[in-house]
Symmetry: C2
Subunit: 569 residues, 2 copies
């Protein structure tokens, strides 16, 4: 085989993206981001990869064996596809980047192996990976928040003022309290985002494996200004048994443009790749997604999946206020060298999936994809025509209220309310939630000059995007790649592989937006502005302490808007 | 054929019951209420007999031709069944009683024929019968309430302080305003409950046909203390064109133990009955249902169907306060000689039907009756276990708030909330509504010493009855007859036919309760007492002006109760 004269030898990077229900491998050309191979492996355990407890809707765990299996299957699958590309060779892979959900900590033994791999703990839910959306630790989260405030640690300033039940220390503390045997068996707790690069690099020793700034900074209260992890004194005040875990955590945590090691020979062999390929430090899926979507100052990237992450970056030279209710502000967590700001909604696609799974009649679940059928019917409705209004809190509220002890709400039902009407109201509720986040950014001086959306829902559901444009009254753009998280991971693979010196340079070459832009409809935006007032009323009434107001007008206003939209009166 | 020596010749009465979706005829032995023949004729027009407007959930009309057809079909069907009884003969029918839904006024011409029978108006929704649950006239109802208050008429004291959009004058005024051509074509407006006896008696002249106290007193603001119908001055203040309607209304209105006439020969012939049988004055289905269920002082009769009516009677010699929020207090409207008190919920079975029709997944709509399948699954849940709480206002609120501009509300949804959980929450919401009515009666000194339930849902759904017993913390009894409304109508047939001098005497002989009694479960009642507090909070927050309070605790409390009930913690 001969190459064209004068052409530079092509180089490739692999992005490995561990999502909520599956793992995806993506192989891209580092020159321009062209995707040459991809493969998705759905996790086989539990319900769509999630281990549930029917008695406790807060519980969500994952089988760590699914991750290992998925790593091999997905990379091998992507390599098989890439092998059809005339210029691809496994030897031309210059780097591997990794992203995962999080905070998804795994209890591991002294060798760094998940204790779930031990026969004794195989079926123990507490011994599995604690998936990001596990909310069992809400009491511990409240306790951590309270103690951090009381001891004037300042730790909460970077995570919106409230520590979350979705995060590292809450989960570990809840395990100690409710599954002490598992806690005792765990030598350390490692974020999935750190564990995968360590596994690839053959360096699982939990006291040595490289920890990423993204998981540490967003979820483990890691910040340079207080010397890394929270103090031993603070952790001891929660439980003295947390202190050794701190000591087994290798500091400093570093951004994803740093190497975590090189591909270990035994892993390389099983994958069909040369050993020694640089592995980037892991980051969260949303953060690499933002990178893959082309995040830059002024650009809000929304990753819309089962939940959303809403991300912005601010150059470190700018003065940045602490923003109450934001999940995290971490230097270098998205683009190295910039503050990474993370907000989000605890459930978006999950709410639509819940509705389809549990409350959608046969009319929309047979003869086609339920989401498509419901969306087609819902698209025929005018804003406000259903008279319905919902809150998007079926899985709690992550940004602004930072409270998992919230639930869904639907108001406005008549005796003729249909499934597409409810479905649309749920979409609108998530749009109102999205707007609330944008407003919070701007209240604190961070202008949102552009919104780029990515994730399956953004790509597949034009109704959702149009409603977001109308509710937020801004154009909605789409990321060019439909595999943004994996692309972002591959970008870090390209950087650690030496193709670029800086992440921004790689982004400029390897990312972009689609030609289609959803523009706000003026009339719809006007109706939604009215409905958003009512959403805010319900948001504040049910979500905040000390709220004072009235609700008598809510049903009346919804009926009035409904009549105006439906009957034109 | 010979009769046993010494046996008195048996006598029979017919009860004719025009419900929301069908008409039922029932033939009973006047001695003990034994049912010897029955037949149900579902109205053929519209959706389950109701003409709807997909653009306006408030609209509900009926085709008057269905009533006439149903009258013949149902009586002939019941006679066919009764003919198998050895002692039944058409000549032994001594009286016919009639009950219907209401307020269901029909615009009629000078001869008393529905104008919908005219070619020109056949497909005009405004020319049909305006079914009780039509709420299009909410603006007119508000106007009538306001004017009645302003002019200090006192008219509202007997109907809970608020005139309803479901009632006679609201509907007529709305027709004038929105369908003036229909209004002009109508010489008079006759309640279905008055029209049917007049039809049977061959006396449709609207200026002469006998009007019942039950429809007039409950829906047309008729009361002896102000000389019958509202004054011409008052009506003129709403619209001068209402005044002639008042003049065409034969006063006084009388109770159902009075005759409306005798069976006209031409009708008798088509029915296969002798002419001249006495016809009782018509009453509303709920009121004859209460009679057929054995209502007496201290006994609350609940007719649970698409909506509910909750009725009590108080001897006229007792001093009775005006009770705010009650639909009506009318002398003789239920049992002649006693005050009839009517309360109710605008939707009960309709809410369950709505859920089954629009939001129930295939799992529960195939392989069996959806209500049965959902109830079976819902029965396995503990009170509070779902974390859900609903308001029962999908069709507005009839008693206490008297407000059609209210809607349903559901709070507490997670990502795992199931259809049976929502179904149970909706049942519980109607139970909380039922309790709210009981409390209102008792607040005003009318002790509820016994609750007798009737209607299809009470008979067919043990889960509903058990939840009602647990929520209300009182035993729930069932009427012996499953055709209580028709039985009550037959009782009036028996009275006008001369079998009894007084209605109470007929009730003692012809009615009774079933052996089964649903007793409250102490533990469940305790949980429901907590949930009822939250229901009250939502009820007052969304339903009353000037409410002051907080809602922050609502979702938290529901989650706490859910966790306690589900996880035992």
């Amino acid at each position: 085989m001969s190459e064209a004269v004068g052409s530079k030898e092509k180089r490739f990077a692999i992005g490995l993206d561990f999502g909520t229900n599956s793992v995806r491998a993506l192989i891209v050309d580092v020159e321009d981001g062209t995707e040459v191979g991809t493969y998705v492996y759905p996790y086989p355990s539990g319900q769509e990869g999630i281990l549930l407890d029917p008695k406790d809707p807060n519980l969500a765990r994952q089988n760590p064996a699914d991750y290992v299996q998925g790593l091999y299957e997905s990379i091998r699958g992507a390599l098989a596809e890439a092998s059809k590309h005339p210029e691809f060779r496994p030897e031309r892979v210059i780097g591997i980047g990794v992203d995962t959900t999080g905070s998804t900590p795994i209890p591991v033994d002294k060798q760094g192996q998940p204790i779930a791999f031990q026969e004794e703990f195989r079926d123990n839910l507490a011994a599995q990976a604690w998936l990001w959306k596990d909310h069992t630790s809400y009491a511990e989260a409240a306790e951590i928040t309270e103690k951090a405030k009381k001891m004037r640690t300042g730790y909460l300033a970077k995570c919106g003022g409230t520590y979350s039940s979705e995060w590292y220390w809450s989960k570990i503390l809840h395990c100690k309290r409710t599954a002490p045997k598992v806690f005792r068996a765990a030598y350390a707790w490692v974020e999935l985002a750190d564990w995968i690069p360590a596994y690839l690099a053959g360096n699982l020793d939990p006291t040595k494996l490289v920890r990423g700034i993204c998981p540490a900074g967003h979820k483990a209260m890691y910040h340079e200004s207080w010397g890394g992890l929270p103090s031993a004194k603070f952790l001891a005040s929660l439980d003295p048994d947390l202190v050794p875990l701190r000591e087994r955590f290798a500091m400093p945590a570093v951004p994803a443009d740093h190497p975590a090691g090189r591909l270990a020979p035994e892993v390389a062999e099983r994958l069909g790749l040369p050993a020694g390929i640089p592995i980037a430090v892991g980051a969260f899926d949303a953060h690499t997604g933002a990178v893959g979507a082309g995040i830059k100052p002024g650009t809000l990237v929304k990753i819309i999946g089962t939940s959303t992450c809403d991300m912005m970056v601010v150059p470190m030279k700018e003065k940045l206020p602490d923003i109450p209710g934001l999940c995290g502000i971490v230097p270098g967590s998205i683009v190295p060298g910039m503050y990474g700001l993370e907000a989000g909604q605890s459930a978006v696609g999950d709410i639509f999936n819940w509705f389809v799974r549990y409350l959608t009649p046969a009319e929309y679940t047979t003869g086609g994809d339920p989401h498509t059928l419901l969306s087609e019917a819902a698209a025929k409705l005018q804003p406000g025509e259903s008279g319905l209004l919902a809150l998007d809190w079926n899985n709690g509220n992550r940004t602004i209220l930072v409270d998992p002890l919230l639930t869904g709400l639907l108001v406005g039902q008549t005796l003729l309310t249909t499934a597409p009407e409810v479905y649309r109201a749920l979409i609108e509720a998530t749009a109102f939630g999205a707007l609330t986040i944008i407003r919070r950014f701007e209240e604190y001086g961070i202008q949102v000059r552009e919104v780029i959306n990515c994730g399956g829902i953004a790509e597949k559901n034009p109704l959702v995007m149009q409603i977001y444009a109308d509710v937020c009254n801004r154009p909605m753009k789409l990321s060019r790649s439909s595999q943004t998280c994996a692309l972002g991971a591959a970008i870090f693979g390209a950087v650690v592989g030496g193709a670029y010196r800086k992440t921004e340079q790689a982004q400029k070459k390897m990312t972009g937006v689609k030609p289609i832009v959803y523009k706000p409809d003026r009339k719809a935006a006007k109706v939604y502005a009215e409905l958003y007032q009512l959403y805010q009323t319900l948001h504040d009434a049910f979500g905040t302490q000390g709220w004072k107001g009235t609700l008598y007008h809510v049903m009346k206003d919804l009926i009035a808007i409904r009549n105006r939209q439906r009957l034109g009166k």
